[in-house]
């Protein structure tokens, strides 16, 4: 059951749950805590985390819609929970796939700080470029 303690944050616990593998919550939470401790040098780690995720969030997403036997990728405005989920998911996949010779907390810290300053691979990779092309093509197919 959820606690409402001062030390608990829903976003942090959600992302540490998503990072978890093989029912090992202890390890996931330890990674999260180490990342936050390292980020706490300059300013409040929670604000860094929230700001970084907000910068990574996509505004529009491509949704496959079946019309007349063809699957069209229609651009659709995403809901709040979908945006938060996608940001967290991309962040975690970035950190795991980079294959740097760095431990997980260091990698995630690096990504967080880059996203916080609106630089880095996260922002570049999931930019609106693909989306804008799709919009031009299917703007008049707005079934949403």
């Amino acid at each position: 059951m959820k606690t409402s303690s001062v030390f608990e944050d829903p976003v942090i616990s959600k992302s540490s749950n998503m990072m978890m593998k093989g029912r090992n919550k202890v390890l996931a939470t330890s990674f999260m805590m180490q990342t936050l401790e390292a980020a706490a040098i300059k300013r409040n780690p929670y604000t860094i985390f929230h700001q970084a995720l907000e910068n990574c969030e996509p505004v529009i997403g491509l949704v496959p819609i079946l019309r007349g036997g063809h699957l069209y990728q229609v651009p659709v405005l995403l809901a709040d929970w979908r945006r938060h989920f996608l940001a967290m998911k991309w962040m975690i996949t970035e950190c795991t796939e980079k294959h740097w010779r760095m431990l997980m907390p260091e990698r995630s810290l690096h990504e967080l700080l880059e996203a916080f300053h609106n630089q880095g691979t996260m922002i570049k990779k999931y930019d609106m470029n693909k989306m804008t092309e799709a919009i031009h093509a299917l703007a008049h197919y707005c079934w949403c």
């Binding site: 059951m1 959820k2 606690t3 409402s4 303690s5 001062v6 030390f7 608990e8 919550k25 202890v26 939470t29």
Partner: protein
């Protein structure tokens, strides 16, 4: 039961008719023929009866007023007999006594409660039906009969009429200059509006959602305006009381041990873990779980946060000593069970308002989440087998 009697009657009269016409000598043959005719008649009439019954079954069964009156008389007589059988006073034999007597005399092992034998007042068994709405000449009694929902529209008319009266009275008062803006706070907390099904039952008519919403809006408008006692009574007819949820919480009584220290015990459960906690009134925030300090028993921060939650919520972090025993479940469920036990025990040291806050925070409700079973045809509770195209 009427139809079979009818056909027997006709058969008998036919037989007599036959017998009357023919002479004695041929009587045997006549009787045989009559018997054969009877059989044919019987067959014909049974088919007729079944055909008739099917058509009637499609419509609603209409119970006449006399029929229901007779049923009520039978019920009352039966109630007195039952009271005599059970050796109790027939004058003071309530419905609960009837239910108990029937359960005693006709024990049934059926699981479905509604399939067991019941003896209730006919008004509860037979659905309410309207008497015939028109006279002998075919003219309906009520002036709104042709709207289709006469009782609903007449009710709306009544309510709106009351509203107009109230407004007229207010205008008169304002003209005289005696108008005082009083806003009465009525007791709307412990009651709720009638739901659509209840209203339908009351009016014995089918309503649509929009009709119901319109009616409730009208009543609420009546409530906002200052109205007299009879109008309030009219509105109160459409309100039902609701049990206030917070007063259901059982607060454990305080106990005192040898040294005069007050403590209270309670239990908690989560998944398959069961815990019992003893919370002492004065202490320094030490928690002992199964004789071991909580720091050593729960090395994970998350579990200790769970234990801390009730105290942190009430700002009593270092003020109580706790001793608890826990068994079953895993690490997380044991922590949840202890949390529930501690919260329940804390209720006795705390004001009622704070108990209500705790209940709203979800501290006093047992977590109903249990492991979902694996279903056949699927790999797990939700996961299906890998879909292969061929």
């Amino acid at each position: 039961m009427a139809a079979p009697c009818v056909f027997w009657g006709t058969a008998v009269s036919y037989r007599l008719f036959l017998g009357g016409r023919v002479s004695l000598a041929l009587r045997q043959g006549v009787w045989k023929a009559a018997a054969a005719e009877l059989q044919i008649l019987r067959l014909r009439h049974t088919t007729g009866v079944t055909a008739k019954k099917n058509v009637a079954a499609l419509k609603r069964e209409t119970y006449t007023v006399d029929f229901i009156k007779k049923q009520i008389e039978e019920f009352n007589i039966g109630k007195r007999h039952l009271a005599n059988m059970m050796g109790e006073d027939p004058e003071t034999f309530t419905q609960e006594d009837i239910d108990r007597a029937i359960a005693y005399l006709f024990p049934s092992g059926l699981f479905e409660k509604q399939a067991r034998p019941i003896m209730k007042h006919p008004e509860q068994i037979f659905p309410k039906q309207r008497a015939i709405q028109w006279g002998e000449d075919g003219r309906p009694f009520h002036f709104l009969f042709y709207t289709g929902k006469q009782s609903y529209y007449s009710l709306m008319h009544e309510a709106y009429g009351k509203l107009l009266d109230v407004e007229k009275r207010q205008n008169q008062l304002q003209a005289k200059g005696l108008f005082s803006e009083k806003t009465k706070t009525k007791d709307l907390i412990g009651s709720r509006w009638l739901i659509k099904e209840e209203l339908e039952e009351m009016l014995v008519e089918k309503l649509s959602d929009q009709d119901y919403a319109q009616f409730i809006r009208l009543l609420e408008r009546l409530l906002t305006v200052e109205c007299s006692a009879e109008e309030e009574e009219f509105v109160q007819r459409f309100r039902r009381s609701v049990t206030v949820q917070s007063r259901k919480q059982l607060i454990e009584p305080l106990q005192y041990d040898g040294q005069g220290m007050a403590f209270s015990t309670s239990e908690g459960k989560r998944k398959s873990a069961k815990a019992e906690a003893i919370v002492y009134e004065h202490g320094s925030g030490r928690i002992k779980v199964n004789g071991i300090d909580y720091l050593l028993y729960f090395p994970v921060t998350q579990d200790r946060e769970q234990l801390m939650f009730p105290f942190h919520f009430l700002d009593r972090l270092g003020k109580h000593d706790v001793t608890c025993t826990v068994s079953g479940g895993g690490r997380s469920s044991q922590a949840g069970a202890i949390r529930l036990a501690m919260a329940k025990a804390l209720c006795s040291f705390v004001t009622e308002e704070e108990v209500e806050w705790m209940r709203q925070a979800g501290l006093l409700t047992a977590d109903p989440r249990v492991r979902e079973r694996k279903k056949p045809g699927q790999e797990g509770a939700r996961r299906k087998f890998t879909w292969k195209k061929r």
